[in-house]
Amino acid sequence: MDDEKPPLDAALRHLAEQQRQSLTSHPTPQELAAYHAGELPPEAESRLLDHLAVCRDCSDLLLDLAGFADLKPPAGVPELTDEQVEEDWQELRKRMGEGEPERKPAEVVPIRPAGPAAKPERTYPVWLPAAASLLAVLGFSFGLYQSVQVGKLSRPRVVPVISSEDVERGETSEIAISARDGGVIYLDSDPDEIYPAYEAELVRDGEVLARVPVGAIAHESVPLLVPGPLKPGTYEVRLFGVSGDQRKPSTTYPFEAR
């Protein structure tokens, strides 16, 4: 019988294959991500590990998640060239432009602008005081209409959409995202001050943490992804209009990281 003894590793692979064949389901990407983040309870984690032990597809997926930022194609397959990346980006922009506008009017939260220190320089036409006096004369209804328009211009809208409970409507100081997790902030540009391109700065306590080119703002709105963790505190996203060599402050969007 000794002569017929099969190798242990082959027998183990055979058993694993038997178990693989009996698998009726696979963890969802969300479950894999939760496991990766260490957020599954111990029992679920152990069950998932039992699955991974015999399921190469899922273990491969999870390994790819662990190294996602630097994932390379398999040996023999070249990485995309810069030209191909550019081509894909232009194609994607085209497809985005063909779709529905990105704005989510129902979720837009009007807030008051930042305080004087944080508010970017804004130039008002010299005729504005005269126009305001005229409004008083012209009556309440027209005045109301005009105040809405002015209000619209002076109220940058910040929509952190990380979760609805983070948004308390109408209160500047309550615009918050999670300090631990970060979030997404939708910036609405001023429709009366359109620039060919924009730049955004993330600022905390006067310190510019990051500066990114925004490009043109399609649909008057651009989402900014601010990943966590962030140091808790008050932040601003400062938007600058860029035209040629000129860079002009456009709007300041304050928010809290808690």
């Binding site: 190798p7 027998a11 692979r13 294959e17 590990l49 930022a69 194609p73 990105e102 510019v208 992804l225």
Partner: protein, 191 residues
Amino acid sequence: MAMTDDLGPGEQGYMYTPEELFRRYHRPMVAYFVRRGFSVEESRDLAQETFLRVFKNMDSFRGESAVETWLFQIASNLYKNTLRSLQTQKRDAQEVSLDGTEAAALERGSTERDALGDILAEERARRLRAALEDLPPQMRQAVYLRVDGDLKYREIAELMHVSIETVKAHLYQARQHLRDRLADYFTDSEF
């Protein structure tokens, strides 16, 4: 005003516009699909579809995890849906090739299984199962990942959220245990 000049993508306090996100993660995203068996051209299309979904649903970023994890989830959902769609087409038309996709992956090792099935006597199989059952779960999982998954120590450690030393210790003890229990039934294997 202080300026952090060297802050880059992935660092704390950075922020992404859609274009930044695309340029940072497009190549890994294409690689993700190529590694699942799709051609480069198919992978570029799938990566583009993924980013389209990302941008249209940026509010699905809940921030519970890193940006990579969020992108991975959207890409993986698309990958699974694409597979399902391909498999449905195959069932319906019996003419769609799934070479290189999950179907091919599921077939891996089936030939080996059939051959080995013949040589695994029932008694051996029973003893092997019993010996494995006696191992602590983590040791058993490490054995499968090493032997069946053919993974490196580092990869097993990554998957199991333990150190490489722990993986080595698990495998060493598991080997000893299986040798002791199964010496009469199987030839020894290094793993």
